[in-house]
């Protein structure tokens, strides 16, 4: 396509967007240190997980760094490009950074990043190779390793707390994944490696239910795991995990949450949630905004947030955390230090778990 026409129409588009934004006015004020546009993932705000966590980060940035932000929730994946463009085109207010939450935005962003080369973007959970995009990915396998280690230790002992207990003679734990993809496999690989690190004798049952919003399927998968002897099931399956928690309550066993401290966000299940592998999406958002405010934003860089950067962490459940034996906690914190020091290397592919 000829470049001249694109530039002409591009400036035309920007002009209309100016007119549009001119009517909006107000809101936030022009004295803000920076102005940020948020484009969330399709689950929308109120998911108690990924998007809410991202919002926590921008709210914290608003308080600490006195920036202003606007947010948009797409209805479907075909909206991503449109919403990204709306922020990129707008010149009143002018957005210093557009945060794209979730890997599904990667394709639309790849296109928009080259079209709007003077707009800064950041993306969470995926890598977009463009000089104006900062990519933030997480070392989910590292955090999963720690909860795996905990599960492996607890299943081999007789442990009871809250509404659950483990059978001392059973050496069996489970993993329920949402969609079988490279991303979710990182959780599985880390978890399995952690379990095997605790003890080679413990078996890990795994199941992928094929969706992140299928509590019934998650419940079914978890019930069959508990029935065949699993004491603790870890899920990386979004809202599907709610079914895992239900199954844990029915079976009187334990579960491990993901993304946020689910003993808080799903507090009705806090009597079976031992811990959660928290993904600090908020830290990714916050640090990208901080970089923009300090004029240190690195376009084209890929930031991996692991245990060292507090990008992922194992957080104990608010009710059951106190019951987890101190020696298990100590072992987890030693393992954490070892992973950061590079003495333990955690695989990202379940097939590489020895």
């Amino acid at each position: 396509m000829p470049v001249s026409r694109r530039t002409l129409l591009g400036s035309l588009g920007a002009a209309t967007a100016t007119g549009l934004a001119g009517c909006i006015g107000g809101g936030g004020g022009s004295d803000a240190a920076a102005r940020v546009g948020m484009v969330y993932a399709t689950g929308g705000l109120g998911d108690g997980s990924f998007n809410d966590q991202a919002q926590t980060g921008i709210v914290r940035a608003e308080e600490d760094l006195s920036i202003a932000y606007d947010e948009s929730q797409p209805e479907s994946t075909s909206d991503f490009g449109t919403l990204q463009q709306q922020y990129a085109q707008s010149s009143d207010p002018d957005y210093d950074l557009v945060c794209c939450i979730g890997f599904l935005q990667a394709d639309a962003l790849t296109e928009n990043a080259s079209q709007y080369s003077d707009q800064q973007f950041m993306i969470v959970d995926s890598v977009v190779d463009a000089s104006n995009v900062g990519s933030y990915v997480f070392a989910e396998h590292e955090g999963s390793f720690l909860v795996g280690l905990m599960a492996g230790r607890l299943t081999t002992t007789s442990f009871s707390a809250g509404a659950g207990s483990t059978a001392g003679d059973s050496t069996n734990v489970g993993f329920v994944g949402g969609v079988e993809s490279d991303l979710i496999k990182k959780f599985e690989a880390g978890f399995t490696a952690g379990v095997k690190y605790a003890s080679d004798d413990v078996d890990v049952q795994t199941a992928y239910v094929g969706g992140f919003n299928k509590p019934a399927a998650g419940q079914e998968a978890a019930i069959s795991m508990y029935d065949s002897g699993a004491d603790i099931v870890y899920h990386a399956a979004g809202n599907t995990g709610t079914g895992v928690f239900q199954a844990a309550q029915e079976a009187g066993r334990f579960a491990i949450g993901v993304d946020r401290d689910q003993s808080v966000t799903k507090s009705s299940y806090s009597d079976v949630i031992l811990a959660s592998m928290v993904k600090r999406v908020d830290n990714a958002v916050y640090s990208s905004v901080e970089d923009v405010v300090n004029d240190e934003f690195q376009g084209g860089s890929v930031t991996t947030l692991g245990l060292e950067q507090n990008g992922v962490e194992a957080v104990f459940g608010q009710d059951l955390g106190g019951d987890v034996p101190q020696e298990v906690k100590d072992e987890m914190s030693t393992a954490r230090d070892d992973i950061i020091a590079g003495e333990i290397s955690v695989p990202t592919d379940p097939n590489q778990v020895s």
Partner: protein, 412 residues
């Protein structure tokens, strides 16, 4: 039933029949008043919601109470925003927001036509969504397969028509299944088409996660289509993902379908089968053949909608296709199942869809509330049309029993 009750029922019946006889001008007037009424009700809802909600920067503060959303501004954004602010200076029809409106309209014209055609044959095709999904995937796969074979100028000329054809074949074949089941096994098409929607979504998801997936992407999608395999953007900014060619294609389908229904023997068979199947069969219409043919054609149009979605908007096939097919049902009802009306109904939907993104961008109104407003508008505008169709049915029924001689029974 008491006399008073019977009288009441009779009054309602007469009113409905009278509604069925309204002229085109009256119908436009009714639709306009319904629109105005829905905006009025919506304004109240936004106002109340704005009083209840808590927000960072309220638009109005009166003592202790704050108003979070400005209802007038919301509707201003919803309608004028969707058109790219025609009242502000320097408006150009080529603005990106208007392009988005047209883009949504284009796909909805196809799905609306698909449902309308089946409706006219007396078949309730709820499966347009599935037919669109299957057509979309088949067109993406066909273009990806053919692109390396057709090089240079040949590809630019042939790939898009090839993709559209593949979409039509895929959607048509997928529509033929419930058609055959209805015609030869007396399976209710409402049930089969709904169930086949799930089959389509799950099978295509399997295909794009596994065999046909893009190995370079975490998303469940096919590899991206080459530039020549997508609808070329003319006049409009290529970034808007809108092509006038696709809109023209939609208009060609509108005209073609109008002609087919009004002026061909097949269209006549189809309409009579829709109004009175037994009489049609008595008159020599092959009922089974008509059912299969109309559902196949309906599916094919839905499939072309899928091809347009894939080749114009997304540039690949990806799971999580928006509910164009289901919106097509409402578009069709709104249009009174008339192919020409589908254009206007789809345009209203397009404005609402595109306007919602402007509202989301310009205000802090949550998308759920915008969804409520959209639903209200559609409900208000569609209901008179729905009752009009009921009135026509009633009038047709009375004619048969000879109780009253009012108007023709055919839907237009």
């Amino acid at each position: 039933m008491s006399d008073a009750d019977r009288e009441w029922v009779d009054t309602v019946r007469q009113r409905l029949i009278a509604l069925g006889q309204t002229s085109a001008g009256e119908r436009v007037l009714i639709a306009a008043s319904a629109l105005a009424l829905s905006v009025f009700v919506g304004t109240i809802i936004v106002f109340v919601a704005g009083l209840v909600a808590t927000c960072r920067d309220p638009v109005l503060t009166m003592g202790g109470t704050t108003l979070c959303y400005d209802p007038f501004f919301v509707f201003d954004r919803l309608f004028l925003g969707a058109l790219g602010d025609p009242l502000a200076g320097g408006w150009s029809p080529l603005n990106p927001q208007f392009a988005l409106t047209l883009r949504e309209t284009t796909v909805l014209v196809f799905t609306g036509l698909s449902v309308a055609l089946a409706f006219r044959a007396g078949i309730f095709n709820i499966g347009t969504q599935g037919q669109l999904v299957v057509g979309g995937l088949l067109s993406a796969l066909t273009v990806l397969w053919a692109a390396p074979l057709l090089s240079g100028g040949l590809g630019a000329v042939l790939l898009v028509p090839l993709g559209v054809t593949a979409g039509a074949v895929g959607g048509g074949a997928y529509g033929a299944i419930p058609g055959a089941l209805k015609a030869y096994a007396e399976a209710n098409e409402v049930i089969t088409t709904i169930m086949l929607n799930f089959v389509a979504v799950l099978v295509t998801r399997y295909l794009v996660t596994g065999p046909f997936g893009d190995p370079n992407s975490q998303a469940n999608q096919t590899p991206p289509l080459p530039e020549v395999g997508q609808f070329p953007s003319v006049v409009f900014d290529p970034r808007t993902d809108f092509s006038l060619f696709a809109l023209l294609l939609a208009f060609v389908f509108v005209g073609g379908l109008y002609y087919l229904l009004a002026y061909t023997a097949f269209g006549y068979d189809l309409r009579t089968a829709g109004i009175q199947p037994t009489a049609a069969e008595y008159g020599g219409v092959d009922a089974a053949r008509t059912i299969v043919a109309s559902l196949t054609l309906s599916g094919a149009i839905g499939g072309v909608g899928g091809a347009v979605y894939v080749m114009m908007i997304l540039g690949k096939f990806q799971t999580g296709v928006p509910s164009y097919g289901f919106d097509g049902i409402t578009v069709s009802i709104l249009a009174g199942n008339n192919p020409l009306g589908v254009v206007f109904a789809a345009a209203l939907f397009g404005v609402l869809k595109s306007g919602s993104t402007v509202v989301a961008f310009a205000t802090n109104v949550p998308p759920q509330l915008v969804g409520v407003l959209r639903g209200l508008i559609i409900l208000f505008v569609a209901m008179p049309e729905f009752f009009r169709l009921v009135g026509r049915r009633l009038a047709a029924g009375q004619e048969e029993t000879g109780a009253a001689a009012v108007g023709g029974g055919a839907d237009d």
